[in-house]
Homo-oligomer: 345 residues x 2
Amino acid sequence: MSVSEVGEFGLIERLARLVETRPAPRSAPQPVGLDLGIGDDAAAWRTTPDLLQLATTDTLVDQVHFDLATTGWRDLGWKALAVNVSDIAAMGGSPRYALVTLGLGRSQPAADIEELYRGVQEHCQAYGLAVVGGDIVRSATTFISVTVVGEGSEPLLRRSTGVPGYRLAVTGWLGNSAGGLRVLRQLKEQRRKEPRSAAERTLVATHRRPQPRVQEGLALAERGVTCGMDVSDGLLGDTTRLCEASGLGARLYLEALPVHPALQEVFPNECRQIALIGGEDYELLCAIAPDQVEAVQRGLERATGTRLAVVGELDGPPVHGRRVRVLDASGAEVEPSGWSWEHFS
Amino acid sequence: MSVSEVGEFGLIERLARLVETRPAPRSAPQPVGLDLGIGDDAAAWRTTPDLLQLATTDTLVDQVHFDLATTGWRDLGWKALAVNVSDIAAMGGSPRYALVTLGLGRSQPAADIEELYRGVQEHCQAYGLAVVGGDIVRSATTFISVTVVGEGSEPLLRRSTGVPGYRLAVTGWLGNSAGGLRVLRQLKEQRRKEPRSAAERTLVATHRRPQPRVQEGLALAERGVTCGMDVSDGLLGDTTRLCEASGLGARLYLEALPVHPALQEVFPNECRQIALIGGEDYELLCAIAPDQVEAVQRGLERATGTRLAVVGELDGPPVHGRRVRVLDASGAEVEPSGWSWEHFS
C-alpha cells in the first residue's frame, strides 16, 4: 500500500501506534513529565510543576504547500513560522523559540534566502520568539521545515476534551485565506499583477500574512476553555479532527459561519463554501459549555478585540452517517461538495 | 551569488546576523532565559535556575546525506535520530523528546515508512527519548528532518570556551563510519551483498548505526570539561569550527588519531587520512586543561568504558597560515589532500 493510498492521517495513526505500543527495554531511561504526545496541535511536557514546554513542527514544500509564483520569499518565511506559532496558540501557549531548516538547490540565489529569513524574522519579532537554530541542506525540492517550542500551563486547550452539547466557536473570520489564494491564482492566469479591489487586497493580505491567534488562545484558556485547536485545514476537516479526538459528533451551521464582507464581495456565491472548507485560516476553533459562551465571547473581545462566533455544537458519537453534519438555515443537512484538503489524497 | 557560492556555513553566518542584529520592536515580548542561540551544537534556554532545555535539528536528504542503495530504511530512521542525539550529547545534555518530519513521494510504500519508523523507535528506546510529534508532507525529494529537545545544566560543553594550551581529545575511534561508507560503495560497484571480512563488517556497522556519546558527554561535563562538540563533519573540519568559535588556532597530530584496527586492516594506506577528514563519526571532541587530561581520561573510561585520545592542542589565534595545522610524527606540517565535507560545495 502506498503512502497516497493510506493517506497522511492514516499513516500518522499507524506510526503513532508503532511508537506507543513497543515497550521500552528496562535499561533505557524513560522520558519524564510528558503530558501530551502525538495527536494534538503540539506536544507538551512539564519542566516544573507549573510550567509546560510545548513543541510543534510543520513543513512547507514547494509546489505542495506554496508556489513561488503566488508567494514571495519574504511572505513564505512569515508563513512558515506562522503555521507553527498557530499550533502553539491552539494549545493556549506562548511561542518562545524556533528552529528553521531550509532545503535548497545549489543555484538558489542567496538573496532569496535572506529575503525569506527577513520574513521569518518579522514574524518572530511580531510574536516575540527567537530563532535559535536550524539547518541548511541541499535538496532538489525546495522546502522549509520549522519547529517552534513554546510555554504554557495547565489547563491547555486540547482536542480530546469536547463534551456533547458544548458550542463550537471560532475566532475572527473563515475563508479569507482560501479566498486570497483564489484571487492570486486568478491574477496569475490573467497575467495581472495587482488585486483589482480593496476586498481582493484584504483576502490576499490574509493569505500572505496569516496572524496566528496567540493572545486569543491565552485569553480562551484563562477564561476556562479547555477544548480547542487551530483551523489550518478548513473548518469542516478540523471540526472532524476535534470530534475524532473527543469521540463525538457535531453539527455546523452554514449560516453562522463568520464570513468577512470582503469574501462576500469577491465570491458572493461561494463564500460560505469557502469559509467551510477553505484552509489556512489559522483561527482558533473551541468548544465551550453553553452557559459560558456569552461570558467567553465578551471576555475575549474585551481582552483581544477579536470576535468569537458560535458555528455549531458537539453531539454524542455518531451512530450512523457523517461525524460532522453541516446544516443550512432551515436545518436541512447540506452535502458539502468537497472535503478539506489533505496531502497525498 | 548562489547558495553554492556562499556555502552552507557562509549562508548560516549571514542569516544568523540577520536574526541577531535587527532590534525587536518594544511591543513584542522578548524570549526570556535564552542561554545559547545559533552557533553551537544545540540551542539552550533556562526553564528553572538549574535546568536548561537544549534543542537541535538536523535533516537528511536522499542522494545528499543518504543513498537507499547503501542504507536501509530502518538504519536511516536510526541515523536520523542519532545525528540529532549526538548534538545534545555534544552539549553534555540528555536527549528527551523528538519531532520527526518525513518528506515522501505519493507512491512510497507505506511499509518502507513503517520500517524507517522502527529504526527511529529503536534509537529512541536505546537512548531513552520519545517521539512526541512530527509532520508528514508530500515531496518529490525524500527527506527526514528531526528536532530533538534535551535537558542539561551548566556548565554545558560549548565550542567557544577553548583556551590556548588546552589539549584536544576525542572519544572512541575516528574514521570507521567513513570507512564503512567506502566499503558499502565498493560492495555496490562490485554487486556484492555482504562485507568480505569481520573488519569490513565492523566499519559498515558503525556507518549504519552510529552510537552518539550521550553518557560520555555527561561524564565529561561532570568532570569539569566545558569545551566540546561532536565530530560529525570530520575531525579536521570540526576542529576548525571549534577554533573559529573560540577565536583560536590548533595543531592536530596525525599519528595520535585513534584508528581502529579494523580501519587499519581494510584501508592500510589511507586510514589516517580517513580518520582525519571522514565524516559521521559522532564521537566527541573536547578541549581539556593539560593538568586535567589524565584524570578526565581515567574518569571517563571508568564511567563509560570509552577511551579518550589526545589528538592535538589549542594554540593562540593563527597570525598567518591555516587555523588548524596537521603535523606528522616528525612534527612537519602535512598538507591534507581534502577538506571536510560541506553541503553545496
